[in-house]
């Protein structure tokens, strides 16, 4: 599976995602505190201890959570604007979840064609063609007619990636995409993500896979207690962390 097969089109659009003073609380508990982060194309990995706000930050990107204040800008669209066409912007931002969240009542193929047909309004034949290409790129063409429940976790996650990619997104969000997988299935999913990164997709990856972050990311961000403590290229991030907190965290996970 090469980079070319994952990205049938080669957009290299380098869409920029910008978080400006993003703040979010749940029931009075601050989860994100004044986050400023620029994802200028390429892959940004977000790491940090559990409960640090990583997933919430990711979910603020496509407004699955609405920030209490601050702005999120995707390309030229301010998704946090009250008048923003959120559905239209979401269609350009793919998201992959920790627990896959495939639609259980649809076949693998229908999972991938659903948004193409309903959101993009593409005809059935064309949608199936696109879906098959995407399934092929994650190595699952043979499973097109299966139900999600008949697939292993790793396969389900790759279908979820194909489902997001079918919409030809400018940005991909990964929310601990390998955390729910058995160890032997992690590699296949990470391989697909690597291919995407090297094809130039703008990606925000919340992950515990430090090796992936070091090898694939252009930028690594460290969140702790809702604060963005450090943002740096991977070499500097892992080899010369500036903050004491990040040093302590890396000591524990590496």
């Amino acid at each position: 599976m090469s980079a070319e097969t994952v990205m049938t089109r080669n957009p290299l659009r380098d869409t920029t995602v910008r978080f400006e003073h993003v703040t979010k609380s749940f029931a009075g508990t601050p989860v994100l505190r004044d986050i400023d982060l620029v994802v200028d194309g390429g892959t940004t990995c977000v790491i940090g201890p559990s409960g640090s706000g990583k997933s919430t930050l990711l979910r603020c990107t496509n407004l699955l959570e609405r920030p209490d204040s601050g702005r999120v800008v995707i390309g030229t669209d301010v998704i946090t604007e009250p008048k923003a066409d959120v559905d239209r912007i979401r269609a350009r931002v793919g998201m992959v979840f920790q627990r896959f969240h495939l639609f259980p009542h649809y076949s693998v193929l229908d999972n991938v064609t659903l948004a193409l047909r309903q959101v993009r309004r593409i005809g059935r034949d064309e949608a199936v063609k696109i879906a098959r290409t995407r399934l092929d790129s994650v190595g699952l063409t043979a499973f097109a007619d299966r139900r999600p429940s008949q697939l292993s976790g790793g396969q389900q996650q790759r279908v979820a990636i194909a489902r997001a990619l079918a919409m030809d997104p400018e940005v991909m969000l990964f929310d601990e995409a390998t955390s729910a997988l058995d160890p032997e299935l992690v590699k296949g999913v990470l391989a697909v993500m690597r291919d995407l990164a090297s094809a130039g997709m703008t990606m925000i990856v919340v992950t515990h896979e430090m090796r992936f972050a070091r090898e694939v990311a252009n930028q690594v961000a460290f969140l702790d207690h809702g604060r963005l403590l450090e943002t740096a290229p991977p070499e500097q991030f892992f080899d010369a962390p500036r903050s004491e907190r990040l040093r302590a965290f890396l000591n524990e996970v590496l």
């Binding site: 699955l64 979840f97 495939l102 659903l114 948004a115 959101v119 429940s149 292993s152 296949g188």
Partner: protein, 241 residues
């Protein structure tokens, strides 16, 4: 003594005498009433369920009140008030067609129960797949129609079928609305037979027919329920990337 007991309930000549009319008129009307009432109950129940799940307080509140009242009253009272009350109050939507008022009365009561069933079904749908749908750009309505509704419906099919069994039994209550001879459901026919012959045997005959309807359905529900609970575990082999 023993034969007196036996004859009170199982007077076979009397039972056999009642059966033809029960089968020819009563069974058909019972099933037809149950189906009509269920259709009304499902349609209105869906609307009320949508109200119960609404974010708008002024939609949610009346839906809640509707459900609480109709689930809180004895069915016989609701059916009397609706079935007799509507035509008396001048709302003669069905003219003099008592059957229509009867079906509507049961249907409105059932709607309160089906609304709660629908609500619980839709609420049980994993928020994860809802978020996945929204993240793909599907609208709120598309997500409901394509994801929440079909997934939730599958989960509540046993409960809805169980509710249908209750509707079949509820149809017995409409006899007090005074149906014409040809409109009588099984209980009304049995009741008339019991009064005319001073015997409970016609009621036993009707009871046997009710059981013939409800017991198989109960088993369908049980099997269905068990199958849903157990799922069908199929493990596919992982293909190498």
């Amino acid at each position: 003594m023993m034969s007196q007991f036996w004859n009170t309930f199982f007077n076979w000549p009397m039972i056999l005498q009642t059966l033809p009319e029960l089968l020819r008129v009563g069974l058909l009307n019972t099933v037809l009433l149950a189906v009509l009432a269920s259709v009304i109950g499902v349609i209105i129940g869906l609307v009320v369920a949508a109200g119960l799940l609404s974010v708008g307080r002024w939609v949610r509140l009346p839906s809640r009140i509707y459900v609480d009242i109709l689930r809180g009253l004895p069915h016989i009272l609701s059916i009397y008030l609706i079935g007799q009350g509507l035509p008396l109050a001048g709302l003669t939507v069905f003219g003099t067609w008592t059957y229509g008022y009867a079906a509507l009365a049961i249907g409105l009561v059932e709607a309160a129960y089906t609304a709660e069933i629908f609500r619980s079904g839709f609420q049980s749908v994993d928020t994860g797949i809802v978020e996945a749908a929204r993240s793909l750009g599907l609208s709120h309505y598309q997500t409901f129609r394509l994801i929440v509704f079909p997934v939730g419906l599958r989960r509540i099919l046993p409960a809805l079928t169980g509710q249908f069994i209750l509707v079949i039994k509820s149809t017995a209550l409409v006899y007090l609305l005074g149906l014409s001879t040809g409109q009588r459901e099984m209980f009304a026919i049995a009741q008339d037979g019991a009064v005319n012959n001073a015997s409970l045997a016609p009621l036993v005959a009707a009871g046997l027919l009710y059981l013939a309807l409800t017991i198989p359905l109960t088993y369908v529900v049980n099997v269905w329920d068990r199958r849903m609970r157990e799922g069908r575990p199929v493990r596919a082999t992982e293909v190498p990337v």
